[in-house]
Symmetry: C2
């Protein structure tokens, strides 16, 4: 029994190994938001019947998704969608609010700008989006206790996050919010030194003559532009750290 599965175009799609088809099925359900973080997914037994394969095949598919960080599994209990990861390995792009709380300090933030705009031609080229694409922009200052630590200047695709302007950024940072609406991001980053504008310098309570440590990130979710962020940090009281 190694024929094309029922309901298949027989030949084309069935070249994909069964374990990969099962992985794709789970990934699609997570990406599309049908299954959210913490939700239980079908049991191995159920997936065996759905795909007409043996348990070892289902087990391999789910095990690989655990390795990829998409699922968590508990013996005797079931398999669940993993909580969103903040690019755990790689360079530790975690929530800055998280970082601050991990150090035992309090985090709060102040919204400087919140606006609706449309993509310039330069932006549509750079992000691969249509000209005039509706975008949202937020500029938020993050504080560690009462010290400003980051100015986050962010652009978000309005199609990806239509309710961006209605969020309460004191409850959830833009980063945390985007992990929900645009899961499994990929992208590029740059870390470099830049001189702050007077506006940024004053938001960070630092002299405009001092350098900033800047991370610029562009993220894509599901091969579609999601967000672009420039994060400014005072060079004398911020560093990136990580393990690998």
């Amino acid at each position: 029994m190694k024929t094309a599965k029922s309901g298949m175009p027989a030949g084309a799609v069935s070249d994909i190994p069964a374990y990969q088809r099962i992985k794709n099925y789970v990934i699609d359900n997570i990406r599309s938001g049908v299954w959210k973080a913490g939700d239980p997914i079908p049991t191995e037994q159920a997936l065996c019947e759905m795909f007409g394969v043996s348990r070892m095949t289902v087990n391999r598919a789910l095990r690989e998704l655990v390795t990829a960080g998409l699922l968590v599994r508990h013996k005797g209990a079931g398999s669940f969608v993993a909580p969103p990861k903040f690019q755990s390995t790689l360079i530790q792009i975690r929530s800055i609010a998280h970082d601050i709380r991990d150090r035992g300090h309090t985090h709060h933030c102040k919204v400087l700008t919140l606006e609706r705009l449309t993509a310039t031609s330069e932006q549509s080229d750079r992000f691969g989006i249509p000209a005039q694409q509706p975008l949202f922009r937020s500029v938020i200052v993050h504080y560690e206790d009462s010290t400003p630590l980051q100015v986050e200047d962010r652009l978000v695709d309005a199609m990806v996050a239509p309710d961006y302007l209605e969020q309460d950024w004191h409850k959830r940072t833009p980063n945390e919010y985007l992990m929900q609406v645009a899961p499994l991001p990929t992208g590029r980053y740059i870390i470099e030194i830049r001189q702050p504008s007077t506006h940024v310098a004053s938001a960070l309570s630092m002299p405009a003559s001092s350098p900033c440590l800047v991370m610029e990130r562009t993220t894509f979710s599901n091969d579609r532009f999601a967000s672009h962020a420039v994060m400014w940090h005072p060079g004398d009281r911020y560093r990136f750290t990580g393990n690998w």
Copy 2:
């Protein structure tokens, strides 16, 4: 047949799943240098007999080592130790010489310092090595064409790299050399802004009043301290970039 394997203390070690014991066996042979990059490792059939397990179990072990980047496998040919990775994913800590050549420029370097010394008490605490442990130190300037781009101030454990002082750094950077003698490193990094010493500033042909983009890395290989490096870059002509 699900009993403790022959030659085992029966109970203690045999709690480790068979696939994990096989992985450990392969990892140990790579870590210790018995199997070098490109070498063929035993076939699945051979490992089945060595460990007295079925082929599926061996297959799982080797497949996971491929995912981890330790092995490459070729259908019909065999399984081989993967070429050393320069921390491919994570923050792209590649060879700076590589980066420069990828940009189509030439790389060369100048050795400023090369010396033998012993660990201070502060260093032995920090790196978890014995007091007075013999160390080597190198200070090397890396150039992109004729422009200095990095001052690399490095400490290396003399036990890990006994021939460190005899290397030709124009052929192979310290980073590349260490990937050979201390494979599979893990460690921590810090990226931050620092003011250069006059010494560093002059080596980088930059004013001492300008900020440097600095990465500091401590690496461990096989749970043993291997190297500590501080890399200074002129803030106005260097950036870290990466994908994830």
